[in-house]
């Protein structure tokens, strides 16, 4: 039997919240991001960090000493894995997490007030600069939080927690009429 296995996003049945409505504070879920865990081999931490920094299209999120999440907007999981493997051959282990992680992008003027309801670290512009990321708890759920723009943050969560985090983010954003939808870019 030959089948094309269609991949399901864990929030498939939950989005969009209210079609066509986009409030100033918005929660966007990119569907097709490729994500990989990059783990530097012994002694290669600096080299891998430098390699990732120079990798262009890939955003890099700090996870732990010598460990990052590499995220690509445009590549498929397979291409990201191949590119990283070529780039970091003999320096890092790469593991595809594209199905195991879900990305949430929160943006708007009240984004810090929304996040303060779940995240205990200081997200003030001077304390958490664009490009910074950190493993933190959002309420009860562990996430990797990154500042991706002036008033924009990305949360990366384990797939099994995605619906719970979605519910939590909606509750946190209720005060500001937070809207939610899949990202337009697919």
């Amino acid at each position: 039997m030959t089948t094309t296995y269609i991949s399901r996003h864990p929030l498939e049945d939950r989005l969009p919240l209210e079609p066509g409505i986009r409030a100033v504070d918005h929660l966007e879920v990119p569907r097709g991001k490729a994500i990989a865990t990059v783990m530097a081999m012994d002694g290669e931490e600096a080299a891998v960090a430098a390699g990732l920094a120079a990798s262009g299209d890939v955003s890099v999120r700090f996870v732990a000493p010598g460990e990052w999440l590499a995220i690509s907007q445009s590549d498929t999981p397979e291409v990201l894995h191949r590119n990283l493997s070529l780039l970091l051959a003999e320096a890092a282990y790469i593991f595809d997490q594209s199905d195991g992680r879900v990305v949430f992008r929160l943006s708007g003027p009240n984004v810090r007030r929304i996040l303060a309801k779940g995240v205990g670290i200081d997200l003030h512009a001077s304390a958490f600069e664009i490009g910074t990321s950190s493993n933190v708890l959002c309420g009860h759920i562990s996430v990797n939080l990154a500042r991706s723009g002036e008033n924009e943050f990305e949360l990366i969560v384990m797939r099994s927690f995605a619906e719970s985090l979605f519910d939590d983010l909606r509750a946190m954003g209720r005060e500001f009429d937070l809207s939610a939808d899949f990202a337009a870019e697919g």
Binding site: Y5, I6, H9, Q97, G100, A116, R159, S160
Partner: protein, 985 residues
């Protein structure tokens, strides 16, 4: 009429009239009123009944230290008991009820307790314990519970919403009075991130009731211009209606913000209360000082109030506490109150001064009685006079209100919440906070600076010092000039001698001077003992008014300094915080996050009934039409797997990818059995021990390439094993070149088990998976027809021919659907946790029901797996302890009932036939039990002393919990296919 709205004055909006109710009676107040000021404006003096004696009580303060005016606001599910009328912001439609009275506030039959008061003295509650227990339980406890108490908690579900928030700042200023405002301005101008929090709905603190002018402008104008400037600074956040209730480690402060407590119809999208955790680099405690009550005969009647509160009601709220007010004071503050009240046109009946030669000036024409004592008050539910004693002569002076001023107690609670003890200041006759480090600095009246100029200066100076300390440069401020300052000194008076009625120390808990004396006489003179023995300083107000007076009295009675007595311990919370705020959004389905498997949707559409399994929701069984019980579904699923094939979601197992040249060595040390030589393309069962030699976790680990392993753990310990591995890699063996990451969420993993499993799987998999090409314990990457890469493992928990297939999580549902469709012709079924459990018990496989932390590998029958050759592994050293190798240890066996219709349940204990149930006679216990549809009777796994030598023996399964006993035969734990013919098919 006694209390009344003054013709003019105050910061209330006289154009905005608000309707409210008290005990059903309609009343009117103004915007800007508290419930207390509005009640006074309506001449409602009686607001509550006391805790023990049910004495009539009135409003004493104008702030959060209020002991008496506790009311219930709201109706039904949104009732708030024990709300202080003195801080409750008035709103249109507010519905308040008095508490602790029956049938009504005015006629309370509980007041007979007052007649019994000789029997209800200090320690009464404890003394009741000395009588026969039955008497206490049947007589005292119910009566005390009913008669004593404050508001009642409602049992309905709270319909309001709450939330928790974090905030961060350079400087947290606690209190927006003169000290706090100046500090916030200095720090804000210097560029610090400032949070200015104040519990009042209107920031300004004492400035709101101040009549002095500063630099020629009124205190209220200064407040407004200061707040306007602070609001214009983007780095300053003003948080009104926010009480900082606790100071915690790392300079984190707990605060509760009353977001919508002052509105009749709260907006649904905003919480009514918000709990804040404020991480502050520095904090300035500008909480001010509490006016100290005086302890005199009859001091608890409605109409006896703090003199400063009277001043606040007049100046801030435009309310007169009485028409003719007597002031009893021991310092300058009483005179200032008298002057302000007189300026509002209220009559000052007399100033009674405990001092002999005060320099303070009374308002024109007001009589001052120096060296005098108040010994009693006249009137019951309102005051009609005050009885003054001087030089042995008594005099009754008519008045309708009494203002008392006994000096100042700095509000230092927060500074002393982390173990610091308050320090007695002989000069200031009060307790001050000690130096508690740079994290929290006490300033203004809270630091003993009682003049307005002193507060303004202290706030300015200390904020400038903090700014400099944090590397900011603060601009030097010109010192403000204050007009009309008074001397704030006083002479401590712990007890006004000669009382002819009860002289109360603690109004809320009905503790009077004689109770303190009794505690001392009965050996409970230590300040902490006296608190518990008398209840002084307990309940909602925690001694805000009474604490220091109790210390002074204990000191005076023993002829020692208050320094030797000390204070009781200050602990969070400063004022009570609702459970709702503490829970925040973590209630109902949000109490814990839900984890969903990538096959959740597949399970749902196949009729799964889910069960909580940690945070996961896992299918317990898949009900089909006509099946009425879980057993019917489970039995069908088990038989279907044994005869045909079944599909089970095992995505929740912990999964870890392990890389590196030393990965094999790392695993070899983690597991008690060997992994070093595991070939590529093979899976192996692994057993992890704790350091103490007991089994920690188990699972299979496969070698996908020489330097890449894939480990599975149990669902329950997925996180624990990951942490354990991190610890081992970072602490035990940092020299090993190994890296690993969790892949639990990346894979949808399913078990396909049953004699027809290969038929189904071969139809979907490109690769050859015949027994020859893919034998038992084979593991590797395969390609599904259609091109999807997957991992396939020939492993079995059920004892059947079985595979586990892992595919990227997103494709999980589609793959499971395809397997079900392909398997339909072969009688496939979805099976859940219950069937999984029955299948593994039938095969004698273990789970954490067996590995409960007391079991060694040998106990469970894995003794031969433990490598004797490996130089080291976790648990090796302690595994050889005598007790762990003893011959009479409980060993895992199987049990089957001698009479096939008898049941065996997990948790039952094992006894020799005829033995009396006792710990000594205990032979073991049942760890897992089920009905085996394959065999047609119950079976069980059990741990039995020297069990493996006792096959064939009969044993009693003693189940006290179920009230059942059964005789069982001890047998091998493998009930199905002991020769593994099915497994290797």
């Amino acid at each position: 009429m006694t209390a009344h709205r003054l013709a003019s004055g105050g910061l209330v909006d006289r154009g905005a009239s608000l309707d409210f109710k008290f005990d059903g009676r309609a009343m009117k107040g103004f915007a800007g009123d508290t419930l207390a000021s509005a009640l006074l404006a309506n001449d409602q003096l009686l607001v509550g009944r006391s805790f023990k004696y049910h004495r009539p009580r009135g409003i004493v303060t104008a702030g959060p230290s209020e002991p008496n005016a506790l009311v219930t606001i709201g109706r039904g599910a949104s009732s708030d008991p024990n709300t202080k009328a003195t801080v409750a912001e008035l709103y249109s439609g507010l519905d308040a009820r008095s508490q602790n009275r029956f049938p009504s506030l005015k006629y309370d039959i509980g007041a007979v307790n007052g007649l019994l008061s000789p029997f209800l003295g200090a320690g009464f509650y404890y003394k009741t314990f000395m009588w026969p227990a039955a008497f206490w339980e049947k007589v005292y406890e119910p009566i005390i519970r009913k008669a004593a108490g404050l508001g009642r908690a409602v049992l309905e579900r709270d319909s309001e919403s709450y939330e928790k928030c974090w905030a961060h700042c350079d400087l947290l200023v606690i209190g927006a009075g003169p000290t706090g405002l100046m500090a916030a301005l200095v720090a804000g101008r210097a560029g610090l991130r400032v949070i200015l929090a104040d519990e009042d709905f209107r920031p300004g603190g004492s400035l709101l009731a101040e009549t002095m002018s500063i630099n020629g402008v009124s205190a209220q104008a200064l407040t407004e211009t200061s707040l306007a400037e602070l609001r214009s600074l983007p780095n300053v956040t003003i948080m009104p209606r926010t009480t900082i209730f606790g100071w915690y480690d790392d300079n984190v402060f707990g605060a509760v913000e009353r977001v919508q407590k002052h509105v009749a119809m709260p907006q649904a999208k905003i919480p009514v209360e918000r709990l804040w955790r404020i991480a502050a680099k520095r904090a300035l405690l500008a909480s001010g000082a509490e006016e100290r009550p005086l302890v005199f005969g009859g001091n608890d009647k409605p109409g006896v109030m703090m003199a400063g509160a009277m001043r606040t009601y007049a100046n801030r709220f435009g309310v007169g506490a009485g028409k003719s007010v007597a002031i009893f004071t021991n310092g300058g503050a009483g005179y200032r109150a008298a002057a302000d009240l007189a300026a509002h046109g209220m009559e000052i009946a007399v100033i009674i001064d405990s001092r002999s030669d005060a320099a303070d000036v009374a308002p024109d024409g007001v009589r001052v009685i120096p060296s005098a004592s108040v010994i009693n008050t006249k009137g019951r539910q309102r005051i009609s006079g005050v009885v003054v004693e001087r030089s042995g002569f008594e005099e009754t002076i008519a008045c309708d209100a009494i203002g008392m001023s006994g000096g100042w107690n700095p509000i230092i609670h927060l500074a002393c919440q982390r173990g610091a003890k308050a320090v007695w200041s002989p000069e200031l006759q009060t307790f001050l906070a000690p130096d508690v480090g740079s994290g929290l600095i006490v300033a203004g009246a809270a630091a003993g600076h009682y003049t307005l100029a002193g507060c303004l200066k202290d706030g300015t100076d200390k904020a400038a010092a903090i700014a400099a300390d944090l590397g900011f440069s603060a601009v030097a401020e010109a010192q403000p000039v204050v007009d009309g300052e008074i001397a704030p000194s006083f002479t401590a008076l712990w007890y006004s001698p000669g009382a002819k009625a009860k002289a109360f120390v603690d109004f809320q808990n009905d503790v009077h001077v004689k109770d303190i004396g009794l505690a001392l006489r009965e050996g409970f003179g230590h300040v902490e003992h006296a608190k518990r023995y008398t209840t002084n300083g307990m309940a909602t107000d925690q001694g805000k008014l009474s604490g220091i007076n109790a210390t002074g009295l204990l000191a005076g009675m023993q002829g020692i300094s208050p320094a030797s007595v000390g204070t009781t311990t200050f602990r969070p919370f400063y004022t009570p915080v609702t459970f709702g705020a503490l829970a925040g959004t973590s209630r109902d389905e949000h109490a814990a996050p839900v984890r969903k498997s990538p096959l959740y949707g597949w399970a749902q559409k196949n009729g799964a009934v889910f069960v909580d399994s940690g945070l996961w929701y896992r299918p317990a069984w898949f009900a089909r039409d006509g099946e009425k019980t879980w057993r019917e579904s489970t039995d069908r699923e088990v038989l279907s797997v044994r005869q045909n094939v079944g599909l089970c979601d095992v995505s929740t197992l912990g999964k870890i990818e392990i890389f590196g040249p030393d990965a094999a060595e790392f695993l070899n040390r983690l597991y008690c059995n060997p992994f070093l030589k595991l070939p590529v393309g093979k899976a192996r069962y692994g057993l992890m021990l704790r350091e103490d030699g007991m089994v920690y976790d188990d699972g299979t680990t496969s070698r996908l390439s020489p330097e890449h392993f894939f480990m599975t753990t149990t669902t329950a310990l997925a996180g624990g094993v990951m942490s354990h591995m991190e610890y081992c890699a970072q602490v035990h063996w940092p020299d090993l070149k190994v890296r690993f990451c969790s892949s639990t969420d990346q894979w949808a993993q399913m078990a396909i088990a049953g004699p027809k499993a290969r038929l189904v799987m071969q139809a979907l998999v490109e690769d050859d998976i015949s027994d020859a090409a893919f034998p038992l314990l084979a593991a590797g990457v395969v390609t599904l027809k259609g091109g999807l890469n997957a991992r396939l493992f020939r492993i079995s928990f059920s004892g059947e021919l079985a595979y586990e297939l892992a595919v990227p999580a997103g494709a999980g549902e589609a793959v499971a659907d395809a397997i079900m469709q392909e398997g339909r012709a072969h009688g496939i079924c979805a099976y859940g946790l219950e069937a999984l459990n029955v299948l593994r018990i039938e095969k004698g496989h273990v789970t954490h029901a067996e590995f409960d932390g007391r079991v060694t590998p040998d106990d469970a029958g894995f003794g031969r797996m433990v490598s004797a050759l490996k130089p080291d592994f976790i648990g090796k050293r302690l595994s050889t302890r005598f007790g762990l190798t003893a011959a009479d240890r409980m060993q895992m066996v199987g049990l089957k009932p001698v009479e096939p219709d008898k049941h065996i349940r997990a948790g039952a204990h094992l006894l020799r036939e005829g033995a009396k149930p006792s710990t000594l006679n205990d032979q073991g216990y049942v760890s897992s039990a089920c009905f085996s549809p394959t065999l047609g009777h119950d079976i069980a796994l059990a741990f039995l002393k020297s069990g493996r030598e006792r096959y064939g023996e009969r044993i009693v399964v003693w189940d006290k919990l179920a009230g059942a006993e059964a005789v069982a035969e001890v047998c091998t734990p493998v009930f199905v296919d002991p020769g593994n013919a099915k497994l290797n098919a």
